[in-house]
Every structure is written in structure tokens, then in C-alpha cells.
């Protein structure tokens, strides 16, 4: 199985290619540089592997939440490639990718994922690792740090930029329930590819036009 994955929903821009269980990734932190980088990363990965887009099995992307424009860059790139090469698409939550990265790099088993959502809010998701892969617990949401959903038990790990920007509020909110924290972690295409492999096997792929962002924040305009 050949999976191409891209992730552009934060200041990080990355693409990954999973071929027969082995992953190659390109990753750069480049605020506002995603449009210049992402297709070059994709092109380079496929060229190195000697693959054409039509030889991919599926293409995956970080569907959000995250920066609106960034999420739409990934979405539009995936839609364009999937349409042109006739590929199915798997949409992966950026919070899930964040959790998968937390497991891959720190072996965190149960995570409270929080990304800075601006406007004094965070994008929030609770994840557990099951059979080595991140599984969401309940629903993802956007909310102020101080009213993030309650969790039961101890031994949770905090991950994501929300723990940096709203670290004090979250630490106070969860107290001793949280033992470890990685506030610098960013969602990466490597982890999007890992999760897409599972979701693709589970029949969760869609066609190009149904590959859509999940913003979580939907009240983006006030009526005049």
C-alpha cells in the first residue's frame, strides 16, 4: 500500500510517503510558506520513491482543526491530486495526528490534545492509544481553556500549543490528573499517514469532493 499524506494546519508544513510500511517525511516550520513548499515536498517524495501519483493507493490530509487557510491549503491540494489521479482520500484529524506523534515520540498512552485556536480558545480532543494508534474519546471541540471537557482518572499527558499558550489555565483545570506535557509538539504528515493506513483499511476513504475541512469553529461571522 502506498499512502501520501500532507499536513499544513499549523506553522509546520509536512508531507509523508508510506510505502510498504516504511515512511519518508519532509517537514519544515514555515509560517505562511505552505503554498510554496507543499507541492515541492510531495513531488520530491514521489520522485525519490520512483512513483507517479496514479500509483498511490490513497492520499491523506490533516483535515483540521487548525488555521483556516492552512487547513484549506491541504484540502485543496488533496482534492486536486485525488481528482487528477483518481485516488480516494482519507481525512485525518490534526488533533489525532498530534496524539499519534505524542505516542511515537514519547510513548504517551493517553493524551489531552490542545491547539491554540486564537480568540482565547483552544481546539480540544481527548485521545487514547489503542493497538499503537490514536483513538478519539468523545468529541473534539473548540472552547476556552478553563472550560475544557472534564476527564476521569489520572496519568494523562498534555500535548500541543494550547499547553503552551494556556498552560497555566489548563494546569489549574486538570491539576494532578496531568503528569507529563509536550507543549511544543506539532501535527505531522508522518502521523497522518499512520492513521490514514488504519482508516483506509476500515473503509473510511472518500472521493475528492468529499474531502473537506473540519474547522470546529463555525461561528465565524456576526450578523450586522
Amino acid at each position: 500500500m502506498n499512502i501520501l499524506a500532507i499536513e499544513t494546519s499549523t506553522e509546520a508544513c509536512s508531507a509523508a510517503l508510506l510505502v510498504n510500511g516504511e515512511i519518508k517525511e519532509r517537514f519544515e516550520t514555515a509560517p505562511r510558506g505552505h503554498g510554496d513548499l507543499i507541492l515541492q515536498m510531495v513531488d520530491g517524495l514521489l520522485a525519490d520513491a520512483g512513483l507517479k501519483p496514479q500509483q498511490l493507493s490513497v492520499i491523506a490530509f490533516g483535515r483540521g482543526p487548525g488555521a483556516f487557510t492552512g487547513v484549506r491549503i491541504a484540502t485543496s491540494v488533496v482534492q486536486g491530486i485525488a481528482l487528477g489521479a483518481g485516488l480516494p482520500v482519507v481525512a485525518v484529524s490534526t488533533l489525532a495526528a498530534l496524539a499519534q506523534g505524542g505516542y511515537r515520540q514519547h510513548q504517551y498512552p493517553m493524551m489531552l490534545c490542545a491547539m491554540d485556536a486564537r480568540m482565547a480558545e483552544i481546539y480540544w480532543g481527548t485521545y487514547r492509544i489503542e493497538s499503537g494508534l490514536a483513538v478519539v474519546q468523545g468529541q473534539e471541540c473548540v472552547c476556552p481553556a478553563a472550560s475544557a471537557p472534564a476527564v476521569s482518572g489520572d496519568g494523562w499527558q498534555g500535548i500541543g500549543s494550547g499547553w503552551n499558550v494556556y498552560g497555566e489555565q489548563l494546569a489549574e483545570h486538570y491539576g494532578a490528573q496531568v503528569s507529563l506535557c509536550d507543549p511544543a509538539a506539532l501535527p505531522r504528515a508522518w502521523d497522518v499517514a499512520l492513521l490514514a493506513e488504519r482508516d483506509y483499511r476500515n473503509g473510511m476513504a472518500v472521493s475528492a469532493e468529499l474531502a473537506l475541512p473540519v474547522y470546529l469553529r463555525d461561528n465565524v461571522v456576526s450578523r450586522s
Binding site: 513531488d43 491540494v77 482534492q79 485525488a82 481528482l83 487528477g84 489521479a85 473537506l212 461571522v221
Partner: protein
């Protein structure tokens, strides 16, 4: 060469297929007007969100209806600016990536160049050189066009665009959005000569426009009137006449200054019938010929982008492997197609 064109610079998703031999083969447009109606103007974030839902379905639909497949395409053209950056990036992202996956070239098209060249889609197309009046919700400019990519700005608005003035005045009169068609409709019931609006910046030389004063004049005129439907119709008529007359004066000057005999009217405001009639009179007086695109290609559309992109791709121009869009992009920065 057969080109797919994608337009997504504002609140309309336009898709078209243009062939250098066969001409325009197919086009379709999805307008978001309903979506923005309740806000009285385009909400950029909502526009971007809608483009990302609509673009691929429209491409698929257009190909199916025209009996073509992606394999029949030789290139992809998409609007890369000027316009709403988030909206532009959707069309650019899909267009550039689609071209990459098909292994065909892509070209980033300037939205206003698309409008300037829209009359080329008609059977009776203007030859170069010509003077173009480009008037839309975001722009009002007079351009001397020597050829594709050879544009000299003769004058532009110093404040509101003409379309913007229509929208603001319509809002003031309690009419819907977009303002152009709404004002034109009630102006039909207006009493000629009851009100006289100024012709901004016509009492001095130059080809600059200013439309913000007309809106203020409308505010004051409405306040001094009874505010009844007839007064509103009279104000709409006086406003429309003032815009048409002002544009005619500036177009006459531009034709005099350049010595050209072809006048092209393009952009959304060029759909206004009173303006067309007034400029037709001007052209006749000067022994010049007036050209304008069919109504559906006056407003934003994919056909003009496919056409402009086709010209540039045939000249060997193409976009690198990047997704770039620009909110601002001076027309004069474009390279010539020779």
C-alpha cells in the same frame, strides 16, 4: 490546446473549458450571493469555505456535461489575484495540484486581465489596441491595451469602486445586494431630472474616478426628500445617470488622449444597461466602436480565466510548482504575450 479555467477570487466559483481551436466549449458558474445576502456583503471566510465545497463538484459536472475527461485537458488556468486571498488560494490549490497530478502545465491568471479579455470570447471580438473601461465591485480603471499583457493604466478610482458605490447606495435606499441590478430596476420608475447628482472629478483634467461623494450626495438627497418609494426611484435614477455620464466623460477623454477607435467595457458594472447605452452614444459620436462581453461574462466567470490562461500557456508561460495567490497585483506587472 484545451484549457480548464478556475475562478474563485470572490463570491463566485466559475469553471470553464476553452480550446484554442474550438473556442469556448463549456462553462458553469456557482454564485454564493444567497450565502452573503444576510450580511449585506461578501464575508471572506464564508466565501473560502464555500469554494472548497463547490470547486471539484463543478469541475466534475462540467466535464460530464461536455463529454470530456481530464485526459482531454492540456493545461489548467486559475485566478491567482487580485481578490480575497483565502478564496483565491482554494482555486489556486486545486488548480495547481490537479495540473501536477495530470502532468500538464498550470498558469496563474490575473483576474482583471481575465475581465479585459472577456470580450475576446464573443464572435465580434475587438482587435488590439483598444481602450478598456474596467468597472466592478472592487475596481474601476481605464486601461490602454496594446496586446495581451501589454497594459497601461490611464486612470483609476481614488476611493470607492463603481460597483461598491452601487452597493452602498442600494443599501442606503433599502435595496438588496448586489446593488447594481437593484438600483437599475427601481431607476426605471424614476423621474428624469428631479434630482441632479454631481459628476465627480470631471471639472478638471485627468482620468481618475471618485465615487464616494455620490454616496454622500445620495444620503443627503434622501434625507431632504420625503423618503417615499418615488423619491427613492428618483434618487436611483439620478445616481445611475451620474455614474454613466461620469464614465462617458472619462472614456471620451481616454479615446481622445490615445487616439484609439475601439472602446471595451468590462467588469460587473458593464452589465448596466444605462451605462452601455450612454457609451454606445459616445462611441457613435467619436466614430469609435464599443465592445462588451455577453452579460454572463461581465461578472466573474471561469471562461475569461480559461481564455487568458490559454493565451499565456500557448506563449509558453507557466507557473512553477507553487501555490501562490495575491490579494493585490498591479495589472502593469504582467508580462507581455508576443
Amino acid at each position: 490546446m484545451r484549457i480548464l479555467g478556475i475562478e474563485s477570487s470572490c463570491d463566485e466559483t466559475g469553471i470553464a473549458i476553452y480550446d484554442s481551436e474550438r473556442g469556448l466549449e463549456a462553462h458553469t458558474l456557482y454564485s454564493q450571493i444567497e450565502l452573503h445576502l444576510e450580511y449585506g456583503g461578501v464575508v471572506p471566510e464564508l466565501a473560502s469555505r464555500d469554494h472548497v465545497r463547490k470547486t471539484v463538484p463543478l469541475i466534475k459536472q462540467l466535464l460530464a456535461e461536455s463529454g470530456l475527461t481530464l485526459a482531454d485537458l492540456d493545461g489548467i488556468a486559475y485566478t491567482a489575484g487580485p481578490g480575497l486571498i483565502g478564496a483565491l488560494l482554494v482555486g489556486a490549490g486545486i488548480g495547481r495540484s490537479l495540473a501536477w497530478s495530470l502532468g500538464i502545465p498550470a498558469v496563474a491568471v490575473h483576474h482583471m486581465e481575465g475581465h479585459l479579455l472577456a470580450p475576446m470570447l464573443e464572435a465580434e471580438a475587438p482587435a488590439f489596441p483598444f481602450v478598456a473601461l474596467l468597472a466592478s465591485g472592487g475596481h474601476t480603471m481605464l486601461v490602454q491595451v496594446e496586446g495581451i499583457g501589454q497594459y497601461q493604466l490611464l486612470g483609476e478610482t481614488v476611493d470607492d469602486a463603481a460597483g461598491e458605490a452601487f452597493d452602498k447606495t442600494a443599501k442606503l435606499l433599502g435595496l438588496g445586494y448586489p446593488g447594481g441590478p437593484a438600483i437599475a430596476k427601481i431607476a426605471e420608475q424614476g423621474t428624469p431630472g428631479r434630482f441632479r447628482f454631481p459628476r465627480p472629478m470631471t471639472n478638471r483634467p485627468g482620468l481618475e474616478f471618485s465615487f464616494s461623494g455620490l454616496k454622500t450626495f445620495a444620503v443627503n438627497t434622501l434625507a431632504e426628500s420625503a423618503g417615499d418609494d418615488q423619491s427613492k426611484a428618483d434618487i436611483a435614477l439620478a445616481f445611475e445617470v451620474a455614474v454613466a455620464e461620469t464614465m462617458a466623460i472619462k472614456c471620451r477623454r481616454a479615446l481622445e488622449q490615445t487616439g484609439l477607435k475601439r472602446l471595451v467595457l468590462a467588469g460587473g458594472v458593464s452589465a448596466n444597461r444605462r451605462l452601455r447605452q450612454r457609451l454606445a452614444v459616445l462611441a457613435a459620436e467619436r466614430g469609435a466602436k464599443l465592445y462588451y462581453p455577453r452579460a454572463e461574462f461581465c461578472t466573474d466567470n471561469g471562461a475569461m480565466i480559461a481564455y487568458a490562461g490559454c493565451a499565456r500557456l500557448m506563449a509558453g508561460q507557466s507557473e512553477g510548482l507553487v501555490i501562490q495567490a495575491r490579494a493585490r497585483w498591479p495589472l502593469e506587472q504582467l508580462s507581455a504575450v508576443t
